[in-house]
Amino acid sequence: MIGYILRRLLEVIPTVLLVLTLVFFALRIMPGDPAIAALGEFATPDAIARFREKLGLNQPLYMQYFGFIAQSLTADFGTSMNNGAPIGDLLGQALPYTISLALAATSIGIVIGLPLGAMTAVHRDGKLDAFGRLFALIGFSLPDFYFGILLLLVFSLHLDWFPMLGGGKGFFDQLHHLVLPAITLGLVMAAFTMRLTRSSLLEVLKRDYVRTARGKGVAERWVIFKHALRNALIPVTTGMGIYLLTTLSGTITVELVFSRPGLGTLLIGGVSARDYTLVQAGLVVFAFFVVVVNLLTDLLCAAIDPRITLR
């Protein structure tokens, strides 16, 4: 088990290397230049040349590439090209916000989506089902940033229940700041989870082993929650794993709307400032997330389904 996890984590390396290579060249293909971004519109060509030299941007591309790869392998992210801050610190500040937002959104997604999905599946085509499906459709149709702004208008500006800006300081304050962004993303996630759970459970309820359970005299409630739901969870888990990655991406707009610190804000800013080092490091972290989320999904699936063996 531990060996398996370690091995999977080692598999990160080729993925990350690929991501790095892609990002490295993608960034350099983009027009614009970190020097202009950093020095501003008044910068003279001379100053720009100097700046590029200092950052090693005047070296041949392959030299930059190998230097960069070598640096990355030693987990040395270097400093921001834009403002010289150590990238490690920048990521360290941003990550907790992004992770907590993604986790909170996922929790909301599970807590609302799973039971709702189960209930709508059980009462298929009933009133509850109609309501649930409508909820899912609407939840899925609202652009999250627009929804976020509406939440801000109502719950922050008018009712003043929740703060409007930033990520908060200290545990409770951070929690307070987390609520609205988490709802924004969480509701979409809930809608997604609900749909997934519903269809997966409907599929499972058709299976013969559910009939077997009924045939043993098991009460309907237990048929659903013990025999059916566990089987239904396997596709749900996989689907949510993939969706969690989408959610991580969705944090970008939500962070902007709620002026929240986080990886998204960091990366978008990084791209617009052509802060190569920052964007590269951020994407490495993101690639790492992807691998970890995939790993967790696989572990969870294996825990749910004995047929899945971890090799």
């Binding site: 993925t15 690929l18 991501v19 892609l22 993608a26 960034l27 293909i29 983009m30 027009p31 614009g32 085509d125 089902d129 109609a130 499906r133 459709l137 609407i138 899925f140 149709s141 609202l142 652009p143 999250d144 940033f145 627009y146 702004i149 208008l153 500006l157 269809s199 058709k206 993939i242 990655l245 989408t246 991580l248 991406s249 969705g250 970008i252 707009t253 902007l256 998204g264 990366l267 978008i268 791209v271 617009s272 994407l283 993101f286 690639a287 992807v290 691998v291």
Partner: protein, 271 residues
């Protein structure tokens, strides 16, 4: 078929068709020129002259919503379709041939999958300039790995069906088999996915516009209308609200079509 599905299907299909038609015929339907500025009449709520009000440049919101549908729906439909064209083939090749082809293509699509969609958009927009094309490319690239995955796994199932072997035995070549047998048989789930991802793409277009990356002014798109409208959401909520409603409606409609298609293609529910 039971009643709720039927109703939803009809509503969804009707609504999708209506929206597409409205967008397609917007030059004839729009009451006013969507680009016409009039600062005297700026930031109005709904009136008899401007049913949906005006935006901060005094442009007619109804006309802009109608015209905006062209861009939003075009991106929303074009991007997934392009993505499907490429992704389905890649997925079929991977699923059918297996081995190295599969490994390379799967790795590549995993790689794309591990890029945050919006960041991808930001990078593409930075490289090509934010525009209609960039948005289409960004969304298409973001959806590409999903089509690869889906068609790959569907192909793997179909590949094992005896009728494929029968076709090989009849003497057909592999590419021809993919075209004649695999593609028609995986088309069902793909069409469903396509309709769902059209909805996703419309939302993504909005999100990209929100980051300033979608269709560019003065061309209205629902996404950039929301974006522009959001700077003055309290003073003049109309452009954003109507564009937001249009997006919600469109996504809802396409989702309903997707749901209905899925039910329709499931032999248990369709029959």
């Amino acid at each position: 078929m039971n009643v709720p599905i039927n109703k939803l299907t009809m509503i969804g299909t009707g609504l999708s068709a209506l929206l597409i038609l409205l967008a397609a015929f917007s030059p004839w339907l729009a009451p006013l020129d969507p680009l016409d500025q009039s600062f005297i009449a700026a930031n109005q709520g709904p009136t008899a002259e401007h049913w949906f009000g005006t935006d901060s440049f005094g442009r007619d919101v109804l006309s802009r919503v109608l015209f905006g549908g062209r861009i939003s729906l075009a991106i929303g439909i074009l991007a997934p379709v392009l993505s499907a064209l490429a992704g389905v083939w890649a997925g079929m090749l991977a699923g059918y041939l297996g081995g190295w082809t599969d490994r390379v293509l799967s790795r590549a699509s995993d790689l794309l999958m591990s890029f945050p969609t919006l960041l991808l958009g930001v990078m593409i927009a930075a490289a090509l300039g934010p525009s209609f094309q960039s948005a289409v490319i960004a969304i298409a690239v973001a959806l590409f790995p999903r089509f690869v995955r889906l068609s790959r796994s569907a192909t793997q199932v179909v590949r094992r069906e005896p009728f494929i072997d029968a076709s090989i035995a009849a003497g057909r070549g592999h590419l021809s088999i993919m075209l004649h047998h695999v593609l028609p048989n995986i088309a069902g789930p793909l069409v469903v996915a396509l309709s769902l991802w059209i909805a996703t793409a419309i939302r993504l277009e909005a999100a990209l516009s929100f980051l300033g990356l979608g269709a560019q002014p003065p061309t209205p798109s629902w996404g950039n209308m929301i974006r522009d409208g959001m700077s003055d959401l309290v003073g003049d909520p109309w452009p954003a609200a109507f564009a937001g409603a249009a997006i919600t409606l469109a996504v809802l409609a396409f989702n309903m079509v997707g749901d209905a298609l899925r039910d329709l293609l499931d032999p248990e529910t369709a029959a």
